[in-house]
């Protein structure tokens, strides 16, 4: 056992993947010499050399397209987009090229690329440096989307993403970079598409992912004080997502709350809720309540940003509402 930081877990996953597979390359703005905006790629340039780890010009669209071209030409590129807000510049490469190549070329190629990108607020970074846009990618057939919630899942899912023969969007919640966990020396493998029960409980199911897991755990503690035992499902993968685990939990608790940091309306939670309102309908004893950010850009001011971010109180209130 040793303490593992989220940011280091990312670096270690990259290091191990690059050691295991010489076709893995890593590029993005300031990932090499500077070691990444959040320090996750420090030391990799020194270890693997400039041919496999390199800095790029500020040309996101070309870089993402290049990742597709490299992926269909025998490499496994890992591209970092500095903030998820900047994925607005790479949608064509991801959606029209990466996601569709295998299908539209008759199943005769694979596009094994990983796009790592940080999302989330709380840093006062304002409306163009804080967005959680994962719902867009989850809507695109051909893409996979994962979002780890702690250092161990970050390591395991990044290894799985790099091993995956499909394009994977790997979303890193900024508030987690500094988080730590006691981890075994041999880190466990994770599978894309599998959720886990982060906390068992009999009274209500809370489905969440990424940085919001901590909020959910805190809310569960608060609820336990009121005699309500919440079961928390940590999705880990958003596309595909683990319908079976969510349904099984709902079948035990009969109440469902879905929570995430992203804007509630048309967010990932909408799909979870909609699906359970269909296949889980007979299990439901109360309304499905969602907790997400309000329908507004992320404000700069700290008090505004705090009011914006989905909170323990929001979640507790949501649980109370579905139990009422």
């Amino acid at each position: 056992m040793a303490e593992l930081r989220y940011q280091k877990a990312i670096g270690r996953a990259l290091e191990d993947a690059m050691t295991a597979d010489p076709t893995v390359i890593l590029f993005g703005e300031d990932v090499a010499e500077a070691g990444g905006s959040f320090g996750a790629t420090k030391g990799l340039r020194e270890k693997f050399g400039a041919a496999r780890v390199f800095d790029t010009p500020i040309s996101e669209a070309a870089l993402a397209g290049a990742a597709v071209g490299a992926a269909v030409s025998g490499l496994k590129p890992v591209l970092e987009i500095m903030f998820m807000d900047f994925t607005t510049l790479v949608m064509d490469a991801l959606v029209n090229q990466a996601a569709k190549a295998r299908f539209m070329f008759g199943g005769r190629c694979a596009v094994p690329l990983v796009l790592r990108t940080p999302h989330g607020g709380g840093l006062g970074a304002g409306p163009q440096h804080s967005q959680c846009l994962e719902a867009w990618f989850a809507h695109v057939p051909g893409l996979k989307v994962v979002c780890p919630s702690d250092p161990v899942s970050a390591y395991g899912l990044l290894r799985a993403a790099i091993d995956d023969p499909n394009p994977v969007i790997f979303v890193e919640n900024k508030s987690l970079y500094a988080s730590k966990i006691d981890a075994p020396d041999e880190l466990p493998a994770f599978e894309v598409g599998k959720a886990r029960i982060a906390r068992p409980g009999a009274d209500v199911t809370i489905v969440t992912y990424g940085g919001a897991l901590r909020t959910a755990l805190a809310a569960a503690d608060a609820l336990a004080g009121e005699g309500v035992e919440a079961e928390i499902v940590d999705l880990l993968s958003l596309q595909p997502w683990d319908e079976a685990t969510v349904l099984a939990s709902l079948s035990r608790t009969h109440r469902l709350v879905v929570m995430h940091e992203a804007v509630e309306a048309f967010g990932v939670g909408a799909e979870i809720a909609a699906r359970m309102a269909d296949i889980g309908f007979d299990e439901l004893d109360g309304p499905i309540v969602r907790v997400g950010a309000p329908f507004m850009p992320i404000p700069f001011s700290k008090p505004l940003e705090r009011a914006y971010m989905p909170s323990v109180e929001n979640l507790v209130a949501a649980v109370r509402r579905t139990l009422a």
Binding site: A62, G65, V68, N96, F105, G106
Partner: protein
Amino acid sequence: MTRPKPKATTGVPTGRNNPSEISRDHLADLYGRLLTIRRAEERLQKLFADGEVPGFIHLSIGQEAVSVGVMDALRDADTIASTHRGHGHAIAKGMALEGFFAELLARDEGVCRGRGGSMHVADMKIGMLGANGIVGAGLSIALGSALAHKTRGTNDIAVAFFGDGAQAEGLLHECLNIAALWKLPLLFVCENNGWGEFLPTTKHLAFQLGDLAAAYRVPHTRVDGNDVVAVQAAAHRIVEAMREGAGPMALECVTTRVRGHFEGDAQKYRDPDELAALAALDPVRRVADQLAALGLGAAALEAIDAGVAQKVEAAVAHARTGTDPSFEAACADVYAEGGRA
């Protein structure tokens, strides 16, 4: 403050279209390949008119010499990224006519199993990374492929085909810059047919590719793109240099869009005289005339044509007997399986 003088437009280099530069056999071979694309597209035209081809198609009739000339200098391991007008590129790179027609007719036997169609013909095995429905997108895909060639230490090269209209997309700039900065083996091939959809590209562009390329010190060559001898000569010279590590280069081929933007476009917006003049610029007829001048008899030329026509017909027949693709198989191919690609 210095206002730069408008540079005189680089004229189309002449003197390259000297068929004596290459052997008669080579020229005859090029002719067969030109004719294959031409006859295939003419056949498509008819199939389309007859309702056998779904969707819409952009024919490269009049532009075949670009595909054949450039591909003459490439080998299988070299990669190309193509455009919405990609039939010629695909066939010239080696796509079998059977799989090509089967795709255009949306058959399971098609190169993309009927899922892509005209705008997405592709075959990774021969380095054809795909036609593309997104103008300009092929540029960055070729950039990545060039990066892969360089990273893997081969001396293969990547080629990005793009139209003159596509030059207004920001990706051109990003890719020129990155390719130049990283000295990637990426050949930029502009098919300058003077049009972007229904507007002459003089209304799209305030620059010439040669001037733009010069800014990044990317060597630029402009040739008569309807002269296959000129195109192949330039391509061979360029590709040879690139295999030796010269970095990115640009080849601009001035050519002619004969059949309109897509099939069904009557080109009413074009000057009738300009349209009438197209026949004289025909890149296929030109080679036929050259071969005749070199002593290849009418019978020999006709034999080539007949051979091509037969192959085309056989491919069409094969495609027609093909099966409809399976929906279940299509669903199963959205994702590749396995944790190790």
